[in-house]
């Protein structure tokens, strides 16, 4: 079964903020976790920016494998700019979440910083 998410009706004409990204991210996670495929329909959305996609799509790589996302998450109605930004976010997220060494190093730095306060 495919769960369709109308992004315009959820967040409006602008997909630019992490807060709106989080809303869409939660809807996607619910659909995928319930065993559904998800179709994100961006028809009517005009303005796109990376903070939205980083949260809505990028952080999916933390919980789902790329092959799973490729099979069960599709996009329709993106403008050329929206498509280019999202493609770049996907590439960046895959690198980020697959690079355990990099992430562990960051965690170490954060731990050290938090302990120093």
């Amino acid at each position: 079964m495919t769960m369709k998410i109308n992004v315009l009706s959820q967040v409006g004409e602008n997909c630019i903020t992490p807060e709106d990204g989080e809303l869409i991210h939660q809807l996607i996670c619910t659909g995928l976790s319930n065993g559904n495929s998800v179709e994100l329909d961006f028809t009517g959305v005009r303005i796109f920016a990376s903070p939205f996609f980083n949260v809505a799509i990028g952080q999916l790589f933390e919980d789902f494998k790329r092959d799973m996302l490729k099979e069960h998450l599709t996009f329709v109605g993106l403008t050329g700019h929206g498509s280019r930004v999202l493609q770049r976010v996907i590439e960046n997220a895959e690198l980020f979440y697959s690079n355990q060494t990099y992430r562990m190093a960051l965690k170490t730095v954060i731990t050290q910083k938090s302990e120093s306060y």
Partner: protein
């Protein structure tokens, strides 16, 4: 005791930015400031936004600032009234539409209002004859500047911006300023000390921030906004100057340079110039391919 700031003509060359940084260092802690414009013939958009920041920060810290309207030339008075600067700093004046793009101060992030400002009062004024979809593309790309300023700048005074259209030069400009912690501080805060035991210089930190994927938010993959902005400027023949701490990043003619400057500014300034030739933007025309995992 009152001090007087004698403002000169300020454009957007590197020396003009040094002048602005010097003014900030000299007057930011003054309790009673008068601003005299006798030697000032014109203020570019970067100077208008920066001056607005100086005035707001002094007043916000309990200081007093007086604007000497009588010292302004008629041309300067018209320019600063037109772009709404005078009314924003408390002078009784009504702005109107011209070649100015309104001065703007956002103490908190207001995405809907800021994108509407960009759509209707900057790119939407049709000085660049692009389609609505391309105008939306430019708006989304330039929004990345504001998103970065609000997310990483950590400025208690918000974000100051102003634009200007230069019909003879066929240029559309915009400056966005925050008086926050600056990009180098943001980058240095999350470097691996084992890899960089000596730390890094401000220009190197600025360069790293413009490399795709560098993020100062370690829980989620980020750090693409400045790269997207940089690529947009480079492929459309525009120019971008970024000043933060003692670093300057210049993006022009498809190239980029980072170097150390003679003056220090703790916050961040992004100054962009777009060409008003629509042919520069055809490369951004739509394609119908949807992204894939």
């Amino acid at each position: 005791m009152s001090q007087t700031l004698y403002l000169s003509t300020i454009n957007d060359k590197i020396e003009d930015f040094y002048t602005l940084f010097s003014l900030w260092e000299t007057f930011k802690d003054v309790r009673d400031l008068q601003i005299d414009f006798s030697d000032c013939r014109f203020l570019r958009q970067n100077a208008v936004a920066f001056l607005g920041g100086i005035i707001y920060n002094i007043r916000n810290n309990g200081g007093k600032v007086s604007i000497n309207i009588g010292s302004m030339s008629p041309e300067l008075l018209m320019n600063l009234a037109q772009n709404g600067f005078l009314s924003a700093v408390g002078v009784n004046s009504n702005p109107w539409e011209g070649n100015s793009i309104p001065y703007r101060h956002d103490t908190v992030n207001k995405p809907t209002l800021i994108t509407r400002y960009l759509q209707e009062q900057w790119i939407g004024r049709e000085w660049i004859a692009v389609s609505e979809k391309l105008a939306d593309t430019i708006t989304g790309t330039v929004w990345e500047i504001y998103a970065n300023a609000f997310e990483h700048g950590k400025s208690s005074s918000g974000v100051f911006s102003c634009g200007q259209y230069f019909p003879k030069l066929k240029e559309l400009n915009l400056t966005v300023i925050d008086f926050g912690i600056g990009i180098p501080a943001s980058v240095r805060g999350f470097l691996d000390p084992k890899k960089y035991p000596e730390g890094i210089s401000a220009d190197k930190a600025l360069e790293m921030a413009f490399q795709g994927g560098f993020t100062t938010k370690p829980k989620i993959s980020r750090g693409l906004g400045l790269e997207i902005l940089k690529r947009f400027i480079q492929i459309t023949g525009g120019r971008m100057d970024v000043y933060s701490h003692e670093a300057h990043g210049l993006f022009s003619n498809g190239d980029e340079h980072f170097h150390l400057t003679k003056a220090f500014f703790e916050g961040t300034i992004v100054n962009i110039m777009l060409q008003c030739d629509e042919e520069c933007y055809y490369i951004l025309e739509e394609n119908s391919e949807q992204p894939e995992f």
